[in-house]
Symmetry: C2
Subunit: 257 residues, 2 copies
């Protein structure tokens, strides 16, 4: 498992740190990375400040196989991600010829349909860092592309576009053994089953058992989530968790991996 690729997500945006916007990009990418066998080790939300962005990018790109950024690549003054990525890599910002071509074609079409024309602000969305190792990432939604620079993937913040870009970037990723998960939900209290659960975790060392309490219809419930690259092990562990919950009087529901 030592060559399992790792990843970090950097959410760039004051709108998340001000509480205005609920981030959903972490959840989407986290789920997909698990399916791809890429271990998400960390996610960070950083403000729209050059020093913070440059520091986070440079810290994370040496630590993890991949870094995925979202946010800050639009046409307005507060879109500073590309300038910061270039600074992090010690490169200049250029207008990427292929990206410019895509944007000009998109807005030529838009204008012919009574929409907006290309302008200097929009051409900012064709900017990337200069030099080798830069690959555009297709944006099927609004044409302004994201890009990969070495192991850093720079994507838009709007969830629908971020998701489209992530999927377009998947073929560029080295994948690992996918991580499967299953769960057992029962009307038991975490504190009642904790000791038995510890024993099961010790028995199933290659399965990660997580315990998540919740309240449903005023009743305390617990979900035990089993995660592993081995489906058979998950199934075996879940069966024992379910049996254990029955001993505590619950009628558990098992979701297979």
């Amino acid at each position: 498992m030592s060559d399992t690729p790792t990843a970090c997500i950097l959410i760039i945006g004051d709108e998340i740190l001000s509480g205005r916007t609920q981030d959903t990009n972490i959840k989407y990418m986290a789920g997909r990375l698990g399916q791809l066998g890429i271990k998400l080790k960390e996610a960070r939300v950083v403000p729209d400040q050059p020093e913070a962005i440059v520091a986070a990018v440079n810290f994370c790109r040496v630590l993890y196989t991949y870094v995925f950024t979202t946010g800050g690549i639009g046409p307005t003054h507060d879109d500073i991600t590309t300038a910061c990525i270039a600074r992090a890599f010690g490169r200049k910002v250029i207008r990427h010829p292929e990206a410019e071509k895509k944007l000009r074609a998109f807005y030529k079409d838009s204008l012919s349909k009574g929409g907006s024309d290309i302008n200097e602000a929009r051409l900012k969305m064709a900017e990337t860092p200069d030099g080798a190792g830069v690959t555009l990432i297709e944006n099927r939604v609004t044409s302004a592309p994201g890009y990969r620079i070495e192991n850093v993937f720079v994507m838009a913040g709007i969830p629908s576009i971020a998701q489209a870009m992530f999927e377009a970037a998947v073929p560029l990723l080295r994948t690992g053994d996918p991580v499967f998960s299953g769960s057992v939900d029962g009307e038991v209290r975490e504190g009642d089953i904790a000791a038995d659960l510890t024993a099961l975790q010790e028995k199933y060392k290659n399965v990660s058992l997580g315990s998540y309490p919740s309240v449903r219809n005023d009743k305390l419930c617990t979900s035990i989530v089993a995660r592993s690259t081995d489906k058979a092990l998950i199934t075996a562990a879940l069966a024992e968790v379910a049996e254990m919950m029955r001993r505590f009087g619950a009628e558990p529901a098992v979701t297979a991996p």
Copy 2:
């Protein structure tokens, strides 16, 4: 403004990094910190791994006025936050007498109503690091308290409990000038208004203008959010943004600070 208190949020939990759970604690605390005039500089999601938690706590507690952690203080084997916080501070873990008293009282009451009794797993929730500077944070929901150790606030992950603990911790915080925000929403495209918006940002240097595109009923819209400690400045800036949007044919809606 140099003495504006700063903060970092640490979300501790594999369930967020696996994509299973949508975090909502960042958004709640981010909004409240803004109201309290405490500048949220960063939020991180870290896995349930001791090295990652200890490193993040120690990095952030020297950098920011306050660190708020959520997650990992329940009764099960995967609840390792307190052990990690103690390690980060170079202290032992103890059973906190006041916390133990609260828990015993809660479960005595629970048992008398046909519910669960106290046990060793639940008494784990009375653990805190040893030594000075530890203050319990009340949990009005399930009695198991959070705690403050120096400038680090350790809270539960379940959103309703995290919110209750955060509110119980507010009196312990040094606050700053609250940040207000207002917005103008209009059916304009970011790329059309970008140049004018840059000019307005340059005019209103003490207001932070953020531009957030979205799609509503298949139409491209933009929200301009103005943030500042000065309400009058926000109002003036928003009026000019609205006027500018009208020049682009929109009928903007203004939300006052």
